[in-house]
Amino acid sequence: MSNVVKLTSNSIDCQAEELELWERTQDCGAVVSFKGIARPTTKQGEPLDFLVLQAHPSMTLKSMQKITHSANERFDVKHCQVVHRHGSIAPNETIVFVAVSSDHRREAFQAADYIMDRLKSEAVFWKREEGAFGRRWIEPTNRDTTDLARWSD
């Protein structure tokens, strides 16, 4: 089992990240990867200049590591690669990359889904939208909460 969890202010090179996972995944039969992308508009339909993700200097990475470790414990997966941006993110740029490898596909799909649901509501980030409308802090949506509840025991 190995986890690589990164927090970066730079662009995420998803191919390089997947390759990094692949290099330690030769013993697996399935790889599932996901990337989350900044949408060009707000929920209200306004054009977005930037999505800004504020991170805590130490708690944010710890929260990501905890979520990823929890996926390892919950599902029979071997390797996880989780990379998250912080700072100013332009529309269509990648915010988050998650890849999971396992012996069989079901566990990899479930673990990637689980990691994303928890990142979306529990990871230590503060997110705001910026555009011609000004700046607006955003909080987890009802859907995020509902998605997270799927994993409650």
Binding site: G36, L53, Q54, H56, S58, M59, K62, M64, H84, I95, V96, L119, K120, S121, E122, A123, V124, F125, W126, K127, R128, R135, W137, I138, E139, P140, D144
Partner: protein, 80 residues
Amino acid sequence: MTTILFFGKISDVIGSQITYKFSDSSLNVGQLRSQLSTIHECPELNDLTIRVSVNDELVAETDMVKPIDTIAFLSPFSGG
């Protein structure tokens, strides 16, 4: 002087960090919150949805803080 950090929406109101001089040797989180709110004329700080971390751990209002601690006020997390 102790540097106290602020994250999320509350940082728009009070700033991303302030320095604070402890006048009491023992102070709990609730008392610190109340003092900062008064000193900086920031009633928003009394919103208990703004959690406090001490040395990277979320703490309760009754937990004690010391000048050497790393203290942060955290608006509700947005998630990633």
